[in-house]
Amino acid sequence: MDYVFTILILIGLFVILASSFDLVIGHCGLISIAHPIFYAIGAYISAMLSKQSGMPVPLSILCGGVGALLASALVAVPALRVSGDYLLIASIGFQLGLIELAKHFHEIGGAGGLTNIPSFLIKDFGRESYVVLVLALAALTVLFIRWLTQGPYGRMMTAMRDDELAFSMLGRNAIWVKVAVFAIGSGIAGIAGGLYAHYFRFLEPDQFGLLQSSAVLTMVVVGGMRTTMGPVIGAIVLQLMPQVITFFNLPPSILGPLQGLLFTGLVLFFMFVRPQGLLPAADLWVGRKQQGDAGQSAKEARS
């Protein structure tokens, strides 16, 4: 049963990660694949605060989220000042550089990893309580992103993504919108990182590298970008699929590359065969008149 609980927790965590990543890459159109590093920042901050200073776990998880949010702004502000393309390179440099840095800091476990992270809820209420917490937070994240993207802020993001020049001509500051969305997405990933740290109680820098980036990107691309349920479906499918491979009892030296091959292969397959993903995004912000015209022409075509 513990195995099932762990899978459910992983699904919940990846729903949070994939949905927040979709907010950044899909809804806002910001090219970055370094989302897992903000997950890592949240995880490490939360683990260290609760372990070293005895801070209550919920508060340390929140601090992890805030830490990830601030770190993302640190990357995004200078990179976006230049061009959107630079964000990708700056964020990859930040991700791999921070992993390299973490490997050399023995205070946070170094390359060997950070162990004995305090657990949360499980001792007093059992594993199922943690499952409920993670799944509830996953549902909250999905609802929050749906609310954000379908409200006025969502309209603003769509306008900026579709035509940044026109958006700026209307007096809006595109850079600050981008930085804000990037920070919100990363902050959510940081909270997911905290939840991960206090369940698995072990963190290793290499867990948050490019394989993790490929996995989260696959979930969004396969599920369907700019949709509420796409990343959720992507996270569920792509969390269950590697579990099937584990039943083959392959050695770890094959298992890791095989999972990576599957993730990246699926992204390539979907990019060329079904770029819209399993759930294609609807044009949310087509004007009413336009929608009415489209409906009218469809009726005319049918008749």
């Binding site: 159109g29 393309d85 930040f94 550089g97 390299e100 050399h104 490019l210 030296s253 590359p257 990246t264």
Partner: protein
């Protein structure tokens, strides 16, 4: 530590090892200039180039030159596949820049994982031994690898310069780099030129990987870090400036390798990411030298024009 002999030895070794960095940077800058793509899939081409040479020399027991040719063949084949089945299709579909970015990243990762599945995750080299005989020249130890590596890099750069300047296809490449649509109007086959630029980059990085693989151990994921070095050099050299990228690669290579004088060797790897980050933050347009004044000089004003004050 800072004795003349030590410093000059480190500087020489750093200069020699920057030879392959120059090739990676030049190839990256060339594709960025002509194809207008941040080609992160170059890491995949580099991986293929190295493992093709490895198979030739270590598995098939072919002589070094045959392994070298096989390496170039591997790199060129992967470049062709990426351009023909990837970039060309995405261009045809008018895919967004984000989509192309994701493709390059994922393609390089896919190739790395495929290679890991075939060859494992252990690092390896093209030749069984990485040690080269050393000759003392004026108190500096010059290995038998250093001079051929520097010579190969100089030959490649000279050939590329001559190709771009004097060959018809090279000039077409510059025309496409300047304005692809206009070049097409003048009858240049854009797709053929874009393929040529990818293949040329494939040749250059394969030579670079052969040099690298005869001196250091390589594993399937290593090419990503090497390529990030090329990205940093391309940005510092000024986007669209192939030779600027080459100079930046030499400077970065020397700085990274000679950093051992100031910081523990364990931190050398971290420097690359620091370069990358600070290149973007501080020098997003690269180091720019003052531009030469090529404009026409103002002619002396005619006395008549001066007299009526209006110039006519």
């Amino acid at each position: 530590m800072f004795e003349f002999a030590v410093v000059s030895q480190i500087l020489w070794t750093s200069f020699a090892t920057s030879s392959y960095f120059v090739l990676f940077a030049v190839a990256f800058a060339l594709v960025l200039k002509v194809n207008k793509v941040f080609n992160f899939a170059q890491a995949g081409v580099m991986t293929c180039g190295f493992y093709a040479a490895y198979v030739g020399v270590r598995v098939l027991n072919l002589p070094g030159y045959a392994g070298f040719m096989l390496g170039i063949g591997g790199g060129v084949a992967m470049s062709f596949v990426l351009e023909y089945y990837g970039f060309a299709v995405l261009r045809q579909r008018k895919a967004s820049a984000m989509f192309v970015f994701i493709f390059t990243l994922i393609a390089s990762q896919f190739i790395a994982y495929a290679v890991m599945m075939i060859f494992g995750t252990w690092p390896t080299t093209i030749f069984a031994s990485m040690f080269w005989p050393v000759t003392m020249v004026g108190g500096i130890a010059v290995s038998a690898w250093d001079v051929p590596a520097i010579a190969a890099t100089v030959v490649v750069l000279t050939a590329l310069w001559a190709f771009l300047k004097y060959s018809r296809n090279g000039q077409f490449m510059l025309a496409v780099a300047d304005n692809a649509d206009l070049a097409e109007l003048y009858g240049i086959q854009k797709d053929r030129i874009l393929m040529l630029s990818m293949v040329l980059a494939g040749v250059i990085v394969s030579i670079g990987m052969f040099l690298y693989g005869t001196r250091a151990q390589v594993q399937a994921a290593a090419a990503t870090e090497l390529m990030l070095f090329a990205v940093a050099a391309t940005i510092l050299g000024g986007i669209g400036n192939i030779w600027g990228a080459a100079i930046a690669a030499v400077v970065l290579g020397v700085v990274q390798n000679s950093s051992i004088l100031f910081i523990p060797s364990a931190w050398q790897g971290f420097l690359l990411f620091a370069f990358l980050f600070f290149a973007i933050v501080l020098f997003p347009s690269g180091f720019r030298l003052p531009e030469r004044r090529n404009t026409l000089k103002r002619l002396a004003v005619a006395p008549q024009a001066l007299s009526d004050g209006k110039g006519h």
